[in-house]
Symmetry: D3
Subunit: 132 residues, 6 copies
Amino acid sequence: MFSVTVRDHIMIAHSFSGEVFGPAQKLHGATFVVDATFKRPELDADNIVVDIGRASEQLHTICGSLSFRNLDDEGEFAGVNTSTEFLAKVIADRLAGKAESGDLGVGARGLTGIAVTLHESHIAWASYERHL
Amino acid sequence: MFSVTVRDHIMIAHSFSGEVFGPAQKLHGATFVVDATFKRPELDADNIVVDIGRASEQLHTICGSLSFRNLDDEGEFAGVNTSTEFLAKVIADRLAGKAESGDLGVGARGLTGIAVTLHESHIAWASYERHL
Amino acid sequence: MFSVTVRDHIMIAHSFSGEVFGPAQKLHGATFVVDATFKRPELDADNIVVDIGRASEQLHTICGSLSFRNLDDEGEFAGVNTSTEFLAKVIADRLAGKAESGDLGVGARGLTGIAVTLHESHIAWASYERHL
Amino acid sequence: MFSVTVRDHIMIAHSFSGEVFGPAQKLHGATFVVDATFKRPELDADNIVVDIGRASEQLHTICGSLSFRNLDDEGEFAGVNTSTEFLAKVIADRLAGKAESGDLGVGARGLTGIAVTLHESHIAWASYERHL
Amino acid sequence: MFSVTVRDHIMIAHSFSGEVFGPAQKLHGATFVVDATFKRPELDADNIVVDIGRASEQLHTICGSLSFRNLDDEGEFAGVNTSTEFLAKVIADRLAGKAESGDLGVGARGLTGIAVTLHESHIAWASYERHL
Amino acid sequence: MFSVTVRDHIMIAHSFSGEVFGPAQKLHGATFVVDATFKRPELDADNIVVDIGRASEQLHTICGSLSFRNLDDEGEFAGVNTSTEFLAKVIADRLAGKAESGDLGVGARGLTGIAVTLHESHIAWASYERHL
């Protein structure tokens, strides 16, 4: 199995509901360094997994749609705990949509999996991995 | 599949038996930066993999039980080569016990896997991964 | 010149005033990985720069007084752009106070300088350095 | 499952054919930081995955056979796009050969998988994983 | 003293003249991860060292003028060993020009120093630091 | 000012005397990732700070003379707390000796400073800097 990973980041504010979150129930924020991994069993005709330029651009577009916001005020996340693991899935699912729509290039239709890791600090990170 | 990882570290002395270890047969030591990963296919009711506060605390407790020791003098490791890969399993198994006993919280009973990576330097690390 | 550095982190929400900040004028957030460096020309009687346990504790206390907050709502920062470089100075000045008050131990009175670096992402960080 | 990883690097020049590569169609170069991972379900008689000294040496030999070259001029890569993902496979396959020939030690015959990751920058890397 | 650092990278081919360079006398290549640091004793009216957006853009422009090239073929480097330390100075001097010309914003005229570090691998890097 | 840094590491056992060290008074150990920085105001005739091959070799030799040992048993460190900051000075002074003896090459006589940083974990490191 082959994979290619590109890195970007988002900076957001949010808060959590539930005693388990302790002080993070208050409005705070995070930088999430975002690693997006694209997987496939064989390389394409250009000998690559995905057009890395397009992959970076599409990831940057998705990050731009989340960054510099208070996620508590975004309608799509109303009443949702936007945990690191949950946001990893949000980004992975959006990238999957980009792969299926052709925004990652024609060759990207050979992708079989996507994984996204969000680093919230030097001592904690979370991932979500899915099939395509 | 979702995962959450937390990082801690231990500082220990030890020696190895066996020609394969070369100069590491002599008493020496290591800092192991410890990454503990918790996995599950679906998030819990709070939209998380595990209570990250509890996960960090339990990992810290386990690290505390190993750190600032000469492992050659610990009865539980008598006659055992405490290699990086072996210690990864020791920590993973102890975390599995914490998950099963409820020390990681009730939600943690939905965990299906644990992986532990120990970084022994900037150029070498080892992992152990198991089911729950 | 000798130095010792310890690392911690804070997670905060804030916004900025001024066109120069572009999208960061909106409420957003950041994880700041905080590196605090203590300097002195000669080691103390224990052959160290500072009691690293106390230095870590005091840095953790300072980080705790800033983390999991919306800095826009903190009276001490009213009308202030809490930029990364500004927050580096806030933390450095508080550590300087700890050194002078004896909270870092008696030996810490030999410290001659403090530097603090805040990493806001994998591609940007800021520092402030001062004398004691 | 256990694994051990060792890190080395290569510095090469190359160019790519195909519009998808944009400016990388011109002769340029890269440092690839190479992580080689060895996997097996059980440890050997010495309580290790592989003799880490031998693993590092063999990886270094393979890196030496690729580094400080213009890959466009190497007969074995004639007409091939030596992408990061492709080079990950080249190194993984050579390590697999070393495992099978006994160059990684007798114990290494218990290895069941090899994965190689090449980091081309702080924001992009690629991997190839195979069975033994 | 305050500072802000932004990171980018270049990927180039080159070769060196002189026995001291050993195998690096052959055409090879490198990824240089570039850290550009801007320094000043006091913050500007916006409470910052430099407009970090502009600083990143200008660094990206400079990196773009060097990247995806064989430096041996660039007239400006004819007969010059484009060592890591030399390239750090090239980038620092170009950034100094940007600061002086106003391309980093009006506030950047308060900058008093620039430092540039180029990381050529996980085990080697070089820096150049100058006044403004 | 120019600088070049190379990285290596040592793995040692040791213990400390003094209440300030808490649990580290017991025999334990550490991996120290060692960064050695060489400084000079102008580049040499080859356009470099130092022959990086020789610098790496000499640092490796020095690391080899310290690594895989219990420092408590080394005569030269009898009765000495081999703290991270102290060991940074030991390595810096030995590198200074190499520079002066010509072991770093004739060009290295133009070096004006050496700094050594020892990373003891992901959250703590220490440095020593001196003139030549």
